[in-house]
């Protein structure tokens, strides 16, 4: 069968009413959390992990992917109307979008963001469908050492390559790796770092860590900042529809944004933020009227919004084909797969084609749903922004603890939630990135297994790690990704890198 047949088959799976319902819940929730500042898709998926434990695997995973896509759509609404990014990938949108809203052009800004997201989401999902089988073929020749090298690359790009300090990023990563060691060693069954506490034998739960760092840490941080003045929500004035000139100025940035965002999401190179910044820079350079940038240029909304959706789809390429998460949300989605006993990777395409292709096809449908949810119904989402902060965060913490309590209502688990919550707060206060901790926790044990397998195959010969051109090449790139930014920072070019800090999703 060709990709096209698989996709058609996937569509038939995705058109099942139950699956459509899951997708609808996913995109609705995703848009809501994207709109609300303070919670993002990574946290939402983490919260839902225990809840979906007894539900249909395909439906749940489609819901998770819907949340991821929806978060990317919803974030733009907040950026444009509130000038506070709803999620981290929308930081750039806030630059131009909010200026447009202040100038009374909020409608067209929302429209170009939503339609651009739709175009990019659609194209990138198709690219995912057609690219995935090739990556799967490539992945079949990958052995443990290649996987280990890929994971090293992911570690470096998530923690050290961007942000304002490699030291802080690596510190976060190593804390995550240390937490990952707690529990039973998956290769030998040896208990590690559990200190005789039975609850620790299961290790640190992804849900607990993610909820604590993202929800509790964020709530504590926002509370600690006191009342720093309520942000003004710009009312959507005038028509939501774009004029002919808006269309003419938007369509090229959409396509360019897609072209930039997708490969960046697909490479193990951190979150969606990088693509949006590159797209913004490109649009500013190519624009016929660069003087408009900074004062509400529609290209500066269209391009980055397309790029962030395209990179969300791109992230699914390594996740589905290699089992390699390149963002916090993808890492937690991986935990979701594992919860259902599924290991993403080349085998998944052979053993569960219904699930994989159903998931990909559902994303096409989810995109259509999202366009409807975000364009005509935008007024509804704006209402969410008017919820007072005390109710909002009280509700967030109630739901945040619900996830952990539902999974394991023990004082030890809630104690971990409290301790990691304080840790997340301190990390935010002192500027340590959060995402590397989560990625370290999830990817750490996988990297350890691959390393020990590779070494077992070579009978303890460490040179095996660089014995093939592929693994040596990937490790070289990983080293460069660690060293080059260090040199750039020393030469005083760190400002560029700190702007591309991966924060959450």
């Amino acid at each position: 069968m060709t990709t096209f047949d698989f996709l058609l088959h996937g569509l038939s799976v995705a058109m099942d009413p139950m699956i459509l319902f899951y997708a609808l819940i996913g995109v609705t929730l995703g848009t809501a959390v994207g709109v609300l500042p303070g919670i993002g898709p990574a946290l939402t998926v983490a919260l839902l992990l225990p809840v979906t434990y007894g539900l249909d695997p395909a439906g749940s995973l489609i819901m998770f992917a819907g949340i991821y896509y929806g978060g990317m759509y919803g974030g733009s609404t907040t950026s444009i109307l509130l000038n506070t990014p709803g999620e981290s990938a929308s930081i750039v949108t806030a630059l131009e979008g909010n200026k447009m809203a202040r100038a009374g052009r909020g409608g067209p800004a929302l429209a170009t963001a939503a339609i651009g997201s739709f175009v990019a989401g659609l194209l990138a999902t198709l690219a995912l469908a057609f690219l995935a089988p090739y990556v799967v073929k490539l992945a079949l020749v990958f052995g443990p050492r290649e996987y280990f090298a890929l994971m090293m690359l992911a570690f470096v790009t998530v923690s050290a390559a961007f942000g304002d300090s490699a030291m802080k990023g690596l510190t976060s990563l190593f804390v995550g790796l240390a937490l990952a060691l707690v529990g039973i060693d998956q290769l030998t069954g040896q208990a590690r770092l559990s200190f005789g506490v039975p609850e620790l034998l299961d290790g640190v739960e992804v849900t607990t860590l993610a909820v604590a760092l993202f929800a509790i840490g964020e709530a504590l941080f926002v509370a600690s900042q006191g009342n720093t003045g309520v942000d003004k929500i710009e009312a959507v004035k005038g028509s939501v529809w774009m004029t002919r000139s808006d269309w003419a100025r938007s369509w090229k940035p959409w396509l360019r944004g897609t072209l930039i965002g997708f490969p960046i999401g697909a490479m193990p190179a951190g979150g969606a933020e990088i693509g949006t910044l590159l797209s913004y820079a490109t649009e500013r350079r190519l624009s016929k009227n660069p003087e408009e940038f900074g004062h509400g240029a529609i290209e500066g909304v269209a391009g980055p919004e397309a790029a962030n959706n395209a990179s969300a789809a791109g992230t699914l390429v390594p996740l589905l084909t290699l089992g390699l998460p390149t963002s916090a949300t993808a890492a937690i989605m991986l935990a979701g797969f594992q919860q259902f006993g599924l290991q993403p990777g080349p085998l998944l395409f052979a053993t569960s084609p219904d699930l994989v292709w159903g998931l990909i096809a559902s994303l096409l449908i989810a995109n259509v749903m999202l366009l409807v949810l975000n364009l005509p119904l935008v007024g509804l989402w704006v209402k969410l922004l008017t919820i007072p902060r005390h109710w909002l965060y009280a509700g967030i913490l109630l739901f945040a603890t619900l996830g952990t309590i539902g999974m394991n209502p023990s004082p030890v688990e809630l104690g971990m939630l409290l301790i990691f919550g304080i840790m997340g707060f301190m990390m935010r206060l002192y500027g340590y990135p959060i995402a590397p901790v989560v990625v370290g926790l999830i990817l750490g044990p996988m990297a350890e297994q691959q390393l020990r397998r590779a070494l077992a195959i070579s009978q303890g010969d460490w040179t095996t790690l660089v014995a093939t051109p592929v693994s040596a090449g990937i490790l070289l790139v990983a080293t460069l990704a660690l060293v080059v930014p260090l040199i750039m920072r020393m030469r005083g070019q760190g400002a560029v890198l700190s702007q591309i800090a991966s924060d959450e999703d």
């Binding site: 240390a178 590690r192 509370a223 109710w391 109630l398 004082p411 206060l429 002192y430 924060d503």
Partner: protein
């Protein structure tokens, strides 16, 4: 995400040394445990204890880097935290932790809700506790009764939803 900077420059970067101390302690713990674990290397030459040692050494290096940067760089301007709201939320979390088993999901969670709201400036407990209680009971109903997520039941849950 949200960044609020108010200038509070503290000259010697004490925070870096505290972090360095914590990292060194964690690193030492990992290395100690790494050596304590019976390590049968097998074919790979490295066993269960190897990774704790690696990560431990890594943490020690990072601790050293923190000391260096703490000596060299001035403390960055950072947001001065207000501690009262933070304490409110922590008390809420602690109350939920303690009361979850004896009193059930709804009461513990209602108190967390009220404390968090208080942390964000809504200190009218006569208003926030009942709202939190209603919300928690609603959540209990939906998740425990409909979605079969096991939530700890207490007096209130038994009274309302039965056995």
């Amino acid at each position: 995400m949200s960044e609020f900077y108010t200038a509070t420059k503290r000259r010697p970067n004490g925070a870096a040394f505290v972090v360095a101390g914590a990292l060194a302690a964690l690193g030492a713990l990992l290395i100690w445990q790494g050596f304590a674990i019976p390590d049968k290397g097998g074919y790979a030459g490295i066993g269960s204890g190897a990774l704790p040692k690696f990560v431990g050494y890594g943490l020690l290096v990072l601790a050293a880097l923190h000391v260096v940067s703490g000596l060299r760089d001035a403390a960055p301007a950072m947001a001065r935290p207000h501690w009262t709201p933070v304490l409110w939320i922590l008390v809420g979390l602690a109350l939920q932790l303690i009361l979850l088993k004896p009193l059930g999901f709804a009461i513990g969670s209602a108190l967390l809700f009220a404390c968090t709201a208080a942390g964000f400036g809504k200190t009218k407990l006569v208003l926030t506790v009942p709202i939190g209680l209603a919300l928690s009971l609603l959540i209990y109903g939906v998740f425990d009764q409909l979605l079969r997520l096991k939530l700890p039941a207490g007096v209130l849950e038994h009274l309302i939803f039965g056995g």
